[in-house]
Symmetry: C2
């Protein structure tokens, strides 16, 4: 095995656009080992002047809406504009198999071979701390590596969308035409977060449905309160098959970036996002800090055995573990 | 405002089946205040001999599959069998409006009036610590209150399902017939967790599709490795409209409970679940412990302001906050 890279080697490799080193750096920030976390924090500090120059786009939608096909086609379009694109997928892993529900490696087959595209799945299932807690760091690393467009793709409805909304500039919701009332469930909450709704699969017999859905959602979005950006949410249609509508999406996102850059909202929003990141980051630190202490680690696994044997309750065990952590801190700091 | 209840008053009220006190106790366990958490832990200890007598059922499926309609009808059937049912919905709240995406209050209108049913939405969006971290405590409180059937309802695909699978006895996946390839995305990971797949809306013209889907999913489930329970996953169809198939679902769940009680798997599985709960619970304790210290709380909000003003990076601020927490611990413990 090769020796570990130094912080400087990571930083130099990343800013030179070295994809292998970028991949290693992403693994470093995803690690829960306290020593790795320290290095990751140093690395982020080191590259921070190279960050912030991308447009960060969150993309969501229910399974079957065509997210990966859209990202394939959209990514191709973006790279044809001489832009580099990074796709970070937040992947709800199966805890049983430790595998991926989505099978990212087989999705986006073309884009994954594109030299100006970088695709990275982030398994969210293994971290107790919630949805892809390291995605913010991943965005910064990709920016330092020169990617102009960063896509954060998430699946389904609910919590991960809220988390992603809070780390991107532009939030794009993909929806199917004709699903009608079936999808009403996600409309109220997720739609109010969207900067644009994109009706997918607008091709063939489906064009009419898509256009009707466009009118319907445009109407629904009128009811949604402004998010402070003064941006009026748009509803567009597109087809990943015929490529119709794809350039318009990119134009819309560029218009958003220009408008919010001029108004100062883009920068202000990112600062507010960083402030709320602090709480998350601090909790990550807390959640992993106890792993520094071998005796606390050992007590955790002993207590787990005692719980299985019904010798202690979870709450009593939790209290004991907290006391041990305090003691270890007193001894070692 | 009424004075706070004592632990004993909570415990007596809950075991007497007092719904108002149960509701207050659920609010207590959901609170992130360290003092409330301590009381909640004491309450759980106090009622623990009254817990464990329910069957804990996780129910999931994409929006539009008909989860709430099914739970309405299934809940009615269960209460007609002279059983009491509690429904805990894990609700991905909208961070922007602090409201509910699903509008639980208007869903399950009949069941919410049923004296033998208890419905409680749990907002997951506000807790940084992940998906409905207090649902396990809520299950125990409902058991102590005499509920025979506890439903944990969750929406969408991904992380919350993994968390729920890890706190229930029986995991039921609702699916639509005819959605076919569109839903393949969730099949691999979520289906392997399911003890049963239920094809909903098997009525009218849809009966044929539902029966075809049943055969298809039954075939797919053959590929899925056994989960250690020796239970062979079933595929059923039902209609919340005609009520066809509803009794069979209850019979299946009773058969599962009998089989796994006799084999010892039910008990063993719960013990293993408790062991993995310890890590989650310990992280909750850690994440909230710093709130005891006013000076650390104040520093957090000061650092947030400094981040907004770009005077400090998130990672540097996180490190500072951790040091302050250590200092506060040394001073106060």
């Amino acid at each position: 095995m090769k020796a570990r890279l130094s912080i400087q080697e990571y930083a130099t490799g990343i800013t030179a656009g070295d994809r292998v080193i970028l991949g290693k750096a992403l693994s470093l920030v995803e690690s829960n080992l306290p020593s790795d976390q320290q290095e990751a924090a140093q690395l982020i500090e080191k590259i921070k002047d190279k960050t912030g120059n991308s447009i960060r786009i969150g993309i969501t939608g229910v399974p079957g809406v065509g997210k990966s096909t859209f990202i394939e086609v959209f990514g191709k379009f973006v790279t044809d504009q001489r832009k580099k694109i990074a796709v970070l997928t937040i992947d709800p892993s199966s805890q049983l198999t430790k595998g991926s529900i989505l099978g990212d490696k087989t999705r986006m087959a073309d884009l994954s071979k594109n030299p100006n595209a970088f695709i990275r799945p982030t398994a969210s299932g293994n971290t107790l701390g919630g949805v892809a807690s390291k995605t913010r760091e991943a965005i910064l690393l990709c920016e330092a590596a020169g990617y102009d467009v960063i896509i954060i793709e998430t699946v389904g409805v609910g919590q991960s969308e809220v988390a992603v909304k809070n780390m991107v500039d532009f939030f794009l919701l993909l929806m199917l035409a004709g699903a009608g009332d079936e999808l009403q469930g996600i409309k109220k909450g997720i739609m109010e977060m969207a900067d644009a709704v994109l009706i997918t699969k607008a091709d063939g017999d489906n064009v009419k449905h898509a256009t009707e859905a466009q009118a319907e959602y445009q109407h629904a979005l009128h009811l949604v309160p402004s998010s402070g950006s003064n941006w009026k949410p748009k509803v567009l249609t597109c087809s990943s098959l015929t490529k119709k509508g794809i350039p318009e999406i990119w134009q819309m996102i560029e218009a958003y970036k220009n408008q919010t850059t001029q108004s100062g909202f883009l920068e202000e929003n990112r600062r507010q996002q960083n402030a709320s990141w602090l709480q998350e980051y601090f909790q990550q630190l807390l959640n992993n800090d106890f792993r520094r202490f071998a005796d606390v680690q050992k007590e955790l696994s002993d207590l787990e055995k005692q719980i299985v044997n019904k010798e202690i309750s979870v709450h009593a065990a939790g209290g004991k573990l907290l006391s041990s952590y305090y003691k270890a801190l007193k001894k070692h700091t």
